[in-house]
Point group: C2
Chain length 323, copies 2
């Protein structure tokens, strides 16, 4: 096994972005995104979720909600061999604790084009996360554990969770600011805490940010500056609610800072054609005043997403409702 | 004279925002903004520029390009006495070196409703800035000096400029990231350098950020965290190109951090009615991919503004043109 290089950039466009369009991405987009990631230097492309078909109706969700091995493989196989030969990129999928039939739906690595399972958990489902991490590791996958809604974590509970997780075969522990509520000081504290445990157990730390306070990019490079080495981004920030750290901002930054192999410019045709295309079809995401509000209140963005869907503009009334 | 309190929040909506709509703000907006600022806790409201009528045709610009004393006074006088009695807010205007007939157009403070003249200069017009600072101070005004395009400053030149300016009657030295090109490390270096000189000469340091890299808010609170005490914002980020640090983000942050007297919620009706109103009239500003590009290249945003005006969407071609 080759040694992990220092920085790992993860493209979560189809996974977090899928929460915006119910995972109905066309194959042409998936293929173009794959090719774009090969050129921009992205290290891992996350295709979507491994969600339970019992819990989530396949008639109401696109295929990237489930990421069957054959669907992922079809995209990879559709890309020219030459393009793939130029650079190795790995493939990730996310699996939520309690929402994934992992015993059946995650097949042994030897049979799958997927390299990494990203186990997403809340702090109150750590035993379930441990079970899934061990299952995925036993099947031969790299595994990360993504701790969601981290801005609401109680310190003692978090300490215990990190110690428990660090003793599993997980490779990366992720700070996930689901509510986009972290100010830099808070982000710094959390990343430092994760790093302390990670360094003790030879794990890595990742950052997955949301843009409710226009801090997704800023918190991502802040996390990197103090030692986090796994950084999530999505093209045009596509993701739930206010969206994520814009991949193009992250790539531009890394390129300018002299990190080898990362390039912003190859993202532009994809942004112009596919991300603009989604917007023109009426798919809406990204920073707006209603997301500032839920971020400020350290709340799940669902009320703001609903406000957006309804086309409401009365932020003053919305603020009173939230409070 | 009362002692300056530690933090000063400056609303630059009509000044920097005026660069987007040629300063055609209606009186109703100016009045509503003034009242909003009284309620949100803004310390200084910048009405616009004191621009030369010889150089800038009054037929092609709204009155806030010139900020005549009587125009400013009319807005202040239109606000209910009770609202004004609740809190003292000061008034600022900007005067660009070489673009202001300050001998005639800036009247003695005793005759004017304006409290502060913000002298804006590039590094190669420092002698002109010194002349204007001294003139304004002699007339009885508080004075700041706003060093524009600071991301391109050469160190020796900047050191010399700061030393020269610090010996004038200026109160505040402003880091102005006109190109929105500062990454946090660079912003930190510059603010630290400004603070070093400011502390020696008993001056204050301010931050005026642009949002090309989605770092305007982040850089503003970063500057504050290391000692800058004058912070500029604009409602809904309204300002040239990618716009500024969003005032509502800044207010929400300060309120949450426990800074007395700052409130986000009173901004909401103004945002809903007036800022949304401007957007619905087709006034365009704010972060977009073309501004990322000029920020990344540390360039003036004029090419990106033109790209936006022309309704272009071909970012890939634009990038090649810029390079």
């Amino acid at each position: 096994m080759c040694e992990m290089k220092k920085l790992q950039v993860v493209d979560a466009t189809m996974r977090d972005g899928g929460l915006v369009n119910d995972f109905y991405f066309e194959d042409a987009l998936a293929k173009a995104l794959y090719e774009t990631n090969l050129r921009t230097g992205v290290d891992y492309m996350e295709f979507g979720y491994k969600a339970s078909k019992r819990l989530f109706d396949p008639a109401k969700n696109g295929k990237w909600k489930y990421c069957k091995d054959e669907d992922v493989r079809a995209i990879v196989d559709s890309v020219d061999k030459e393009k793939k030969a130029a650079r190795k990129m790995k493939i990730a999928v996310m699996a939520d604790v309690g929402r994934c039939d992992f015993h059946e739906d995650i097949r042994p690595k030897a049979e799958s084009p997927i390299d990494m399972i990203r186990v997403a958990t809340y702090l109150d489902t750590i035993p379930g996360a441990v079970e899934m991490i061990e299952d995925a590791a036993n099947k031969g996958y790299e595994v990360s554990c993504n701790l969601m809604a981290i801005s609401q974590a109680k310190e003692a509970e978090l300490d215990e969770a990190l110690e428990t997780l660090a003793k599993t075969p997980v490779s990366v522990l992720y700070v996930v600011d689901s509510y986009g509520a972290l100010y830099p000081e808070h982000a710094k504290l959390l990343v430092s805490k994760f790093l302390e445990v990670a360094n003790k157990y030879d794990k890595k730390v990742g950052m997955h940010a949301h843009n409710n306070l226009q801090l997704a990019f800023s918190n991502t490079i802040l996390a990197h500056s103090i030692g986090a080495t796994w950084l999530d981004g999505t093209y045009d920030s596509m993701g739930r609610g206010a969206g994520n750290c814009a991949m193009e901002l992250l790539l531009g930054y890394l390129e300018k800072q002299g990190f080898d192999g990362y390039h912003m410019a190859p993202a532009l045709p994809f942004l112009d054609e596919y991300m603009e295309g989604l917007k023109k079809k009426g798919i809406v995401w990204g920073y707006d005043l209603q997301y500032l509000m839920t971020g400020l209140l350290n709340q799940h963005p669902r009320a703001a997403i609903q406000f957006t869907k309804e086309g409401r503009e009365d932020h003053e009334a919305f603020w009173r409702e939230l409070k």
